[in-house]
Symmetry: C2
Subunit: 282 residues, 2 copies
């Protein structure tokens, strides 16, 4: 698999880079950003994946979250993929900001016209990790995942479905019960069809019932987040599901915070510490 | 003067805000962003102005630099104005990215058609400070200024021309000798006319010869900055001028760093500490 480096900048003693490549599972070009910490010049480093929210690209997190500072200190390689394939000319691809382009919901689509390209679950859990392991000085036995909103949902389902692969998981304002919120219902119906049984494989509040995941989950949620008020995020439902499953959910309601990257930047250090500790580099 | 709040987000225990207002000296709407630190709820806080570079708006710094973290810790109110008036329909306003819209060079223009609106020196040194003092819980006896590229030039000339007003100054990759670089020559000719005598009032390397400024000046410059190679920034000329004037310039060449906000974010903490110390809040 060939990677094309589109841009790079020295950053906190390491390097922030932007790549493009031809994705086999998505049958499309895909983009991602990477932060390579200074420690990677000496030894393989652990990997921390970030999944972004609706409308975001591979740029938002790496430019706005302020994550490089502690990633450089801890020696974490950050990887932030785009949120979907783009510009494929699919019918309906650009019609809505919460479905299609920029809104993959990290599922493997089964429905026309998405199935051929929107294989984002396989992309973030299989193809992208392979690519990272082949092309960067990483230790694949140490990886973790986090994300925001739709990407918080993505991070949670990846960890819950692969409890032995990821050492830790956390999320900012995640969509925690997509089967039960308007965004998730639209997306799952469009990508997965009408059978709600298949939806539950991508719903964190459903997955905790059977997942072997037993490590603490850190979630920050602003209480002034308009999408919380709209019932898109439903952290209370996830909290109940985790309690019933005996999973240690550390849900922190942050007073006055909204859904933006200003919120994320405010608490990113706590999340990097959460992952750094689990990955043995704090 | 009426301020319109366009957007705000809780941020590191304080608030990041975006404002618009009708500028008297620019005869135009102007925009700026502000970070209000948590300490402002209890007492007047010092002010740190940021001036941005070519093409930037009031958004770039406040979203990408990662400055809020230490501003919150030190209790600094950050103010980042837009780089020019916009959308005035002036002939040539949108023709070049390095002149006109987004490229005021922080001078008071004397030439048609700019003179009526491009009064950015007065805006950043008079109108905006007055607005900030009237509308925010600040201590106007404690203010400092910094900036990037064209805004580094702006910060340096403000400090050198008002040595008693600003407690400290610093810059990232500043244009330090605008009379002698292509960007500056184009801008000064367009805004100020052909008489190079009038240009020198806006040239840091000229101003140090007569300025009463005697405090240390911190400058970070990436040595992989393409604009350095193009001769737009000329830090060596400023260094010589400072040496001759007996000014303590702390010019740090940063190996491998470019001109981007990845560079700025990497060293923003050092600059906030520089200002925080001068403002008595570290």
């Amino acid at each position: 698999m060939t990677l094309t480096l589109n841009q790079q900048s020295r950053s906190f003693g390491g390097t922030t880079q932007f790549y493009q490549h031809s994705s086999q599972c998505c049958n499309a070009p895909m983009r991602f950003s990477v932060y390579i910490p200074p420690q990677a010049a000496q030894q393989p480093v652990p990997i921390l994946y970030w999944l972004s929210g609706l409308t975001c690209t591979e740029e938002n997190f790496i430019t706005k979250a302020g994550a490089q500072r502690l990633a450089a200190q801890y020696g974490l390689l950050l990887v932030a993929p785009d949120t979907s394939p783009r510009n494929l000319g699919l019918p309906g691809e650009q019609d809505r900001w919460d479905f299609g382009s920029g809104a993959s919901f990290y599922v493997d689509a089964t429905e026309f016209p998405w199935a051929k390209h929107y294989q984002m679950y396989r992309y973030v859990t299989e193809e992208l990790p392979l690519l990272i392991e082949e092309n960067f000085p990483v230790d694949p036995t140490r990886q973790s995942i986090f994300g925001h909103s739709m990407g918080g949902h993505g991070a949670l389902i990846c960890a819950l479905r692969h409890p032995s692969r990821y050492q830790s998981v956390s999320a900012f304002a995640p969509i925690t019960a997509p089967m039960s919120c308007p965004w998730g219902e639209t997306a799952f119906r469009g990508y997965l069809g009408e059978n709600r049984q298949t939806w539950s494989a991508y719903d964190a509040s459903e997955l905790v019932k059977t997942s072997a995941w037993r490590r603490p989950i850190l979630v920050d949620q602003g209480d002034a987040d308009s999408f919380l008020a709209q019932g898109q995020l439903l952290p209370e439902r996830f909290e109940t599901a985790c309690q019933q499953a005996g999973i240690d959910l550390r849900l922190r309601m942050q007073p006055g915070y909204d859904h933006s990257y200003y919120f994320i930047a405010s608490f990113i250090d706590d999340h990097l510490r959460h992952h750094g500790e689990a990955l043995g580099c704090v």
